[in-house]
């Protein structure tokens, strides 16, 4: 089979070259269609009940795509004509932003924001400030009192210290354009900020706008990273040809991967550009490995055609197996039904699979097309490997760690201790955000400063969780028992330390009822009968209010309502605590027939509900993903190495490394979220390469020296070095991300480096210890078929030539 392929490639290389060029051109043509942008709907799993609930009620109760603008007085209070004018101006401007829901722009200056009062003539609810801003001191004092005594406004639209006012605007998720919105908001900020007022703006649209505004920087770092990789590779190989060919391979793969995204109409989230970067790194190493083998074969045959055919014969099958294993690992990310991850998974799967063409086909074809590969690269003499010293000593020490069975068991024991410790840490791994503020940006970024300022003045307002109350028939919201259940629910919730405040239709009914009780607080209760509630709500809505004024609280049929819960922060644990406690209360209500005959409480909509849905999906699939990734790796490796135990032995260090990575994340308080999850699982692909390099080499060495301990010792000192250099290449180039203005990318860079190092340690310390300790049969099995021999020597992947050099050198010395 491999023979046929290699002959086909060598004979039809011109045709293949044209075909490759055409296909690549077609994909390249699709690239301009790709948008690099973030989109909040990408994060929402369409299957999750919270997302469905939010979708169902978003149009009535308001949803999650909210921008909050704070106008903060630099001196004195917000009750100042100039400052209130700013509030009014911003409110008016927001109403004309593209994609905004004009009925859901709230502020002191909005016409919809009312102040209810009882007068001798009955009930009135005039707008609290609209249309005119107070001019005289008396008018201003009257406004202050209206504000301070109105729970729907004080603490929500005017801060508890009277220093700041808030304007909130909701956008239609399908209509908002983040870039335009962000630009408009920035313009508004510049216009309105002066020596009297500070403007703070927060909201997911602003976060995405901020990320978008850093796009050129992100792409620069992306480019720099690639350059750094190439530079390292050039230093390593000292050959322009060897630098150029991998670039070409990488570019072809890039065209295929990104072109695929364009053809499918996918957008690429700038936050996870790190993942394609990893694939690029692997493309480079596959390409380099091919070239080095080609050089070797050219030496041997002194005939281009023959050498190329021989290289393809040797490398096609193992190369394919490595690529397919990696790609399969990437594809399983798609089991998490979050569109962002599904898209990422498909794009990167295709991208990874394209390496079959960009390396396994392209490299031989280009080798055939070029006059000659040039002089033989002087890898042996000039590469960095040459400096005998530090790294060699370290590797020798490393090898010594697992040299005897007793030591090997000690190492395994230590790893167990580490495992137990990180198991303990894992129990504290936070799903979702681990710190207040957005973890995507640095704590001192303008956005997080804005968020902090708004959270100081309006605790919880940024973190609304909606508990939806679904009625079984119309008018159930007027049932006293239903309103009492809502009231009880709120009291239950407000006892939680994570909850800042709650608000619902029941509060409105109580406050209106109290107003009819001559403002005596002991009348601030849910009325006794449905008729009385009906009267209260009729008066409330019939007295100068307009359609839409009470939309936030109930629907027109009085069938559905909600409880807005304002959380103190948006950390994963906070949301989960509140949801858990809410569920306990809901269970109690469900058991009580007198309540559940009318209504069901449903978790959870609003911004925090959606966030919880993302966190829960991740928590649900975290383990599945890891297990599946390991299982697929084991199956593929077992299949390609023709040994089940080989597959099993390979995945043990992978599992340990991944487990330790989660421990590290818990220790560093990095939350496991939609952005960090794929990195952790894709890193398995890196680890498996290292494991395969080592095992192949050990097998080879064993056949040479006939002693397992010695074989392992030699392998660590030779292939170990190559693995170390590959790992360091990834680490050094990924580290460039540390300088990103986006904290998430910096953290990812660091995390990837750590993951790579853990896998390196897994391959060089733990795997050898395992091999020494259990002496698996597949290593010591002497009967080596021709096929597994070829797998063995080529699965050493990228730096086989080097290891060959070492074994030669050792043999000669």
């Amino acid at each position: 089979m491999e023979r046929k392929i290699s002959e086909f490639i060598v004979q039809r290389y011109r045709l293949l070259l044209v075909l490759l060029a055409v296909v690549t051109a077609i994909f390249a043509y699709q690239i301009p269609k790709v948008t690099v942008a973030s989109n909040i709907t990408d994060l929402l799993s369409s299957k999750h009940p919270y997302v469905k609930l939010d979708k169902e009620f978003r149009n009535i109760f308001g949803g999650s795509n909210v921008v909050l603008i704070q106008v903060k007085a630099k001196n004195g209070s917000i009750f100042d004509e100039d400052l209130l004018k700013k509030v009014r101006h911003i409110t008016d401007q927001l109403r004309f932003f593209p994609g905004v829901d004009r009925n859901k722009v709230y502020s002191l200056a909005a016409r919809k924001v009312k102040h209810m009062k009882v007068t001798s003539w009955g009930m009135e609810s005039p707008p609290i400030m609209w249309p005119d801003i107070p001019h005289t001191q008396d008018e201003m004092d009257a406004l202050k009192k209206r504000v301070f005594t109105d729970d729907t406004i004080f603490g929500k639209l005017v801060s508890l210290d009277g220093k700041a006012a808030l304007i909130s605007a909701e956008f239609f998720p399908e209509k908002i354009d983040y870039r335009v919105t962000f630009r408009n908001l920035q313009k508004l900020r510049v216009e309105e900020e002066d020596d009297k007022a500070e403007i703070n703006i927060v909201g997911d649209p602003v976060i995405y706008g901020t990320i978008d505004s850093h796009l050129s920087e992100t792409l620069t770092i992306f480019g720099l990273t690639i350059l750094a990789m190439l530079l390292l590779l050039f230093i390593y190989t000292r050959s322009f040809m060897f630098m150029l060919l991998p670039i070409l391979s990488a570019i072809i793969s890039f065209c295929w991967g990104v072109g695929f995204a364009g053809a499918m109409g996918y957008n690429i989230d700038p936050l996870i550009l790190v993942v394609p970067l990893l694939i690029t790194a692997r493309t480079l190493s596959h390409s380099i490995q091919f070239n080095e083998r080609l050089v070797e074969e050219t030496e041997r045959f002194c005939d281009k055609k023959h050498a190329v055919a021989e290289t393809v014969f040797a490398l096609f099958y193992p190369g394919l197996s490595g690529i397919v294993t990696d790609a399969a690992g990437i594809l399983i990310i798609a089991i998490i039904p979050i569109p962002l991850l599904v898209k990422l998974s498909y794009i990167c799967f295709f991208w990874a699979m394209s390496v079959v063409f960009s390396v396994l086909f392209f490299n031989p074809v280009i080798a055939m097309s070029l006059p000659s590969l040039g002089r033989k690269a002087t890898i042996e003499n000039e590469c960095l490997v040459h400096d005998e010293g530090f790294i060699d000593r370290i590797l020798a020490q490393t090898a010594a760690l697992t040299a005897t069975k007793q030591r090997a068991w000690t190492v395994i024991g230590m790893v167990m201790v580490l495992l137990a410790w990180s198991g303990y840490l894992n129990s504290r791994l936070i799903i979702g955000d681990a710190k207040p503020g957005t973890p995507i940006l640095w704590p001192d970024s303008p956005y997080n400063m804005d968020e902090k300022s708004i959270n100081d003045h309006f605790p919880g307002v940024m973190n609304p969780l909606l508990i939806v109350m679904k009625g079984k028939e119309t008018d159930v919201v007027k049932e006293p028992i239903v309103l009492k259940a809502m009231d009880d629910f709120q009291r239950h919730l407000s006892g939680l330390t994570d909850v800042g405040a709650t608000f619902s239709f029941a509060d409105l009914v109580k406050s209106v009822n109290m107003k009819f009780f001559e403002n005596m607080p002991k009348g601030s209760v849910i009325p006794e009968s449905k008729r009385a509630v009906g009267m209260v709500s009729h008066l409330m809505e019939g007295s100068g209010s307009e359609p839409g004024d009470f939309d936030k609280y109930r629907d027109y049929e009085y069938m559905n309502s909600n409880i807005a819960v304002y959380l103190n922060d948006r950390m994963g644990t906070t949301i989960e605590n509140v949801l858990k406690s809410s569920q306990a209360f809901i269970d109690k209500c469900e058991a009580d027939k007198s309540i559940s005959n009318f209504i069901h409480f449903k978790l959870a909509a609003g911004l925090m509900g959606l966030r919880a849905s993302i966190n829960q999906e991740i928590a649900k699939y975290e383990v599945t993903l890891l297990v599946l990734a390991l299982a697929i790796t084991a199956v593929f490796c077992g299949f390609f190495l023709r040994s089940t135990s080989a597959g099993l032995v390979l995945i043990i260090p992978l599992f340990v490394s991944n487990f330790l990575v989660f421990g590290y994340m818990a220790f560093m308080r990095i939350g496991l979220n939609v952005n960090t999850l794929p990195v952790a699982s894709i890193a398995i692909g890196i680890g498996v390469d290292y494991g395969i390099y080592l095992i192949s080499r050990v097998k080879e060495e064993y056949q040479r020296v006939g002693n397992l301990e010695e074989a392992i010792f030699n392998s660590i000192r030779t292939t170990g070095k190559a693995i170390t250099f590959t790992a360091l290449t990834i680490v050094l180039s990924v580290l460039a991300w540390i300088f990103s203005s986006i904290k998430f990318q910096a953290e990812m860079g660091l995390l990837l480096s750590i993951v790579t190092l853990f896998h390196l340690a897994g391959a060089l310390i733990f795997l050898p210890a395992l091999l020494t300790a259990i002496k698996p049969k597949f290593l010591t099995n002497a009967s080596v078929t021709e096929k597994s021999a070829s797998i063995k020597d080529s699965n050493g992947l990228m730096l086989e030539a080097n290891s060959g050099y070492y074994s030669n050198q050792e043999a000669s010395s």
Binding site: D487, P521, T573
Partner: protein
């Protein structure tokens, strides 16, 4: 081998160190209802020998052993709003509430027993309770309902002013003499421990009264809607209205501390008077804009005020005030 052992030790040391660091980090916040004052509306507060109890909706009683610094939830096990509470010592207390329920504790609030249930005949809300000792107490409420007991609540006798008026507040100065006030100018006095009542006539007949306080059998004050304050020097036979303050906000409770009278009410208003006739704003700027419902003075002269959304205001001697909802409003432009 030696270096090998060393590195083993080093490894273990690193593990221990890292564990210690991980352990030293602040524990994650735990939700707990026990340690937090619920943000529910507080309708009433009472004290006895340094212990404070406040009542709220959902049958909740909150207990504070340290003058409002920390609170514990005491569940009475009933769903009704509890509108008033009265303790006679640190063990015995009664709370009354919606639909006429009365609950009693004999162990400082750890356990509560229902003394009066809601029935079709007796479901008028009770808004105020006062016990003068462990046996004698009164409760009043809707439909001018008056219930009283002489056996610590084992049995309750019921009477009424005979009209559809809400009674909001009462003040007994001993086991015989007491006054009640209520909706739409309702005022009455008893001199036989509540068996018979004599109606009194305020100068403003249509104003509702929410609070009443008597210093002795002659001198008393009543407060109510729109900031109205009345005073009497003849046990209520004649009431005079005092000059109104600048605030027209409802006043819900009135009490004497030292030689100063205080009244509290709507929107966090607190007014005070030295002579009982000239009243002025007592605390400015306001400590809160939540309504303040009930005022209790402890044996040592400390004050605890309960109000909306879990508001608790305390003071040692009415000169300095603390509020758990301390809101520093920028009412003056700095």
């Amino acid at each position: 081998m030696r270096t090998y052992r060393k590195s083993c030790l080093l490894f273990l040391a690193v593990i221990v160190f890292c564990s210690a660091v991980a352990e030293a980090e602040t524990p994650l916040s735990m939700s707990s209802i026990q340690n937090k004052m619920c943000a529910a509306d507080l309708y009433a507060v009472d004290s006895c020998k340094g212990h404070i109890w406040a009542t709220s909706a959902g049958g909740a009683v909150y207990y504070s052993p340290d003058l409002g610094k920390s609170w514990q939830l005491q569940e009475t096990g009933i769903p009704n709003e509890l509108f008033s509470i009265s303790f006679t010592d640190e063990m015995n207390g009664w709370a009354v509430g919606r639909s006429g329920v009365i609950v009693h504790t004999a162990d400082g609030g750890r356990t509560w027993l229902m003394q009066r249930k809601e029935t079709p005949e007796t479901h008028a809300n009770l808004y105020k309770v006062q016990f003068i000792d462990n046996r004698k107490g009164w409760a009043i409420g809707e439909w001018s309902t008056i219930v009283y007991t002489t056996d610590g609540g084992e049995t309750w006798a019921e009477t009424s002013l005979g009209e559809d008026k809400i009674l909001f507040s009462m003040c007994f100065i001993d086991e015989k003499q007491g006054w009640i006030v209520g909706e739409l100018g309702t005022m009455a006095r008893t001199i036989d421990g509540g068996k018979t009542w004599t109606k009194q006539t305020p100068p403003e007949k249509n104003k509702s009264f929410y609070g009443v306080f008597f210093k002795d059998r002659s001198h008393g004050w009543a407060c109510g809607i729109d900031g109205i304050i009345l005073r009497t020097e003849d046990g209520g036979t004649s009431w005079q209205q005092v000059p109104p303050t600048s605030s027209k906000e409802n006043l819900y409770d009135i009490d004497l501390v030292g030689n100063k009278l205080w009244a509290i009410g709507m929107n966090g208003i607190m007014v005070t008077s030295e002579n009982g006739f000239d009243w002025h704003i007592g605390v400015e700027p306001r400590l809160t804009y939540q309504w303040l419902m009930d005022w209790v003075t402890t044996e040592k002269g400390e004050i605890v005020i309960a109000g909306a959304k879990g508001t608790i205001i305390t003071s040692k001697d009415t000169t300095a005030w603390q509020s758990n909802r301390q809101i520093r409003l920028c009412t003056t432009d700095e």
